[in-house]
Symmetry: C2
Subunit: 367 residues, 2 copies
């Protein structure tokens, strides 16, 4: 059932990845439940401290002996950015909204511990390393030498071809519908033109890269979406939003409540939180940045700078000033389920969708 090249290459039963959502969402319980159910669970470790990553990996391994992935975001540090008075005014407005004092003006320039995080993945012998924001670079060679499988993220054909050249084992084709950060390498050029819908992106990539397993991501919420992606030529699907509000998710309760209430028109792409484009349920934090007409600072500086605000908002259950990452499929999210229930439902729905195709193309099964 649904046994694709992806399943063989990654030694899993189902062509299904639970996305490695960063920022206190994925738990060892979620990752292990998805992997135990036959999919590939992913720990979103991008913002975790190295020690916490090690603990989480060990906990996952305690819960399951099946393959799982750990996701990191790979990005360069940036030069100290210029700050305009209008930016400071906007930021102080957000700080005031959550009861924080005025910004000191100090820019958080301490480099992130990406190499240290990656080191933990090597030491703990993680089966699959997935990443976004760039090519794997030197990490890729180290990961391969250690026997890890690599999954990169592409938002365009150009990015997919570069990832193939870099020797990854599979590529996530991330459509414009996807929640959270856009995985693009070309962050400077994220106009409308760079935001390709999942359906045409997957069709294009599977045609142009016939030897590469393509993983469809963005707007897929159920088994119908799985079969649709496989029909387009994908070898697997990656779902994030569907798992965001699940029982094992450590997403903030106020965030989960917003997800369960959201309509399909409620999300937007913003750089307000991190400096990089990402899709989430629109809220005051995003609206005030648009209204002020200020440019956020570059990633990762903006991300660190807004971290204190987001943490304060979380303590106050203030969903207007926290990140509410979600894809356009969020309108189809209606109840809190367990991760294992989600996987079981996906498979049943996929079987029904496949049966619909068999009924409409009665000769196809004999080919």
């Amino acid at each position: 059932m649904l046994n694709t090249r992806f399943c063989e290459r990654f030694s899993v039963e189902l062509p299904l990845i639970q996305a490695g959502m960063a920022g206190n969402i994925t738990t060892p319980e979620m990752v292990a439940a998805v992997s135990e159910a036959g999919g590939l669970g992913t720990l979103g470790a991008a913002y975790m401290q190295p020690d916490a990553i090690r603990q989480a990996i060990r906990e996952i391994k305690r819960l399951t002996s099946k393959p799982f992935a750990v996701n990191l975001l790979l990005y360069p540090e940036v030069e100290r950015p210029e700050v305009t008075p209008a930016f400071t005014e906007w930021l102080n407005g957000r700080r005031a909204a959550v009861g924080l004092p005025e910004w000191s003006g100090e820019l958080p320039m301490t480099p992130d511990a990406i190499a240290e995080r990656f080191r933990i993945l090597l030491e703990e012998e993680v089966p699959v390393f997935s990443f976004a924001f760039s090519l794997p670079g030197a990490f890729g060679e180290e990961a391969r030498r250690a026997g890890m499988k690599l999954i990169g993220t592409a938002t365009t054909l150009e990015e997919a071809l570069a990832l193939q050249e870099a020797g990854v084992d599979a590529i996530v084709a991330q459509g414009g519908e996807a929640g959270g950060h856009r995985g693009t390498f070309h962050v400077g050029d994220q106009g409308d033109g760079a935001c390709i819908g999942t359906l045409p992106l997957v069709a294009l990539l599977t045609e142009a890269l016939p030897d590469m397993p393509i993983i469809a991501a963005g707007g897929i919420m159920d088994g119908r979406g799985m079969i649709a992606a496989l029909a387009l030529g994908a070898d697997a699907v990656q779902l994030g939003t569907r798992f965001l509000a699940c029982k094992e998710s450590s997403a903030h309760p106020a965030y989960k409540a917003r997800l369960l209430a959201a309509r399909e028109t409620d999300t937007a792409i913003t750089r307000a939180f991190s400096g990089r484009p990402a899709r989430g349920v629109d809220n005051r934090f995003m609206q005030t940045q648009r209204e002020a007409g200020v440019s956020p600072l570059p990633f990762p500086v903006q991300n660190r700078l807004t971290g204190e605000i987001r943490a304060a908002a979380a303590r106050q259950n203030d969903s207007e000033n926290m990140t509410l990452w979600a894809g356009q499929g969020v309108a189809m999210l209606r109840e809190e389920e367990s991760a294992a229930e989600i996987v079981a439902k996906l498979i049943r729905e996929a079987e029904r969708a496949a049966a619909r195709i068999a009924l409409l193309c009665p000769g196809s099964s004999r080919r």
Copy 2:
């Protein structure tokens, strides 16, 4: 083969519509070829003079006895808009680029002949009336009394529910990937949030409107996309871009050349040409409007005002100042084919995609 509710309701063999692309694209030959091949061809009559519509319908009927559709855009006239000096400067820049003298400042406020166009559809007994930009209103009742089938266009769940309430026979779920005008009713609110990808939009609408045939549109370029849409629960697909460069298309040769060369990242949504959001291959006309930071006038005034520029550009083979409407699937367009060849290929591709699903879900055909 592929016999859905849509086929039965519209008396066609294939769940496939060739989109009614306005602006001198669709020809009676294209429409008739698609209908003869078993699909539903559509005459894009939105900007045609009533007499020309009558001639085209008669020509289609001479070429085929099978059902076809005529598409109109339904919109209100607007108040005389304010014009800023910056707008005039931008417009004069575009006029100069194609050798036209400075704008007189006169606004083309003469109402469009929508009711007269619709009258022709009644008189010539057109089988299917498809439309966008609004609910059918009084036209809907007249069309139904005359025995016409109605197809409306929705870009959100709210629009789809309103169309169902208005009694249409099927609804096009137009995803954000689609080329040409966005069919939305809510033109004032066309931020990112209103641009839902085809995959999640179709999944949402088929779930929420189980008794309504949903036609998936946006980014579908081949038979894989057809099967994907059917797996999501759609009853048919509508393709525009795939037919744009076909042999029967009267699109300008310079436009066709741009389509065949375009990458998936080359399109953008603009209001620069018509005042309403529409997706096309990005060009100087669109770029200069963004750079000037001017707001186009409301539809249909902007559309009339730029008509002279577009006509001059066409005479000069100047693809930088004509409309190059195209969806995000345009990167998969590689050769000029006949409309009948396209339909035949779509069916073969759909059969292959269905066979792939049957292979991956071996039990599905026995359910």
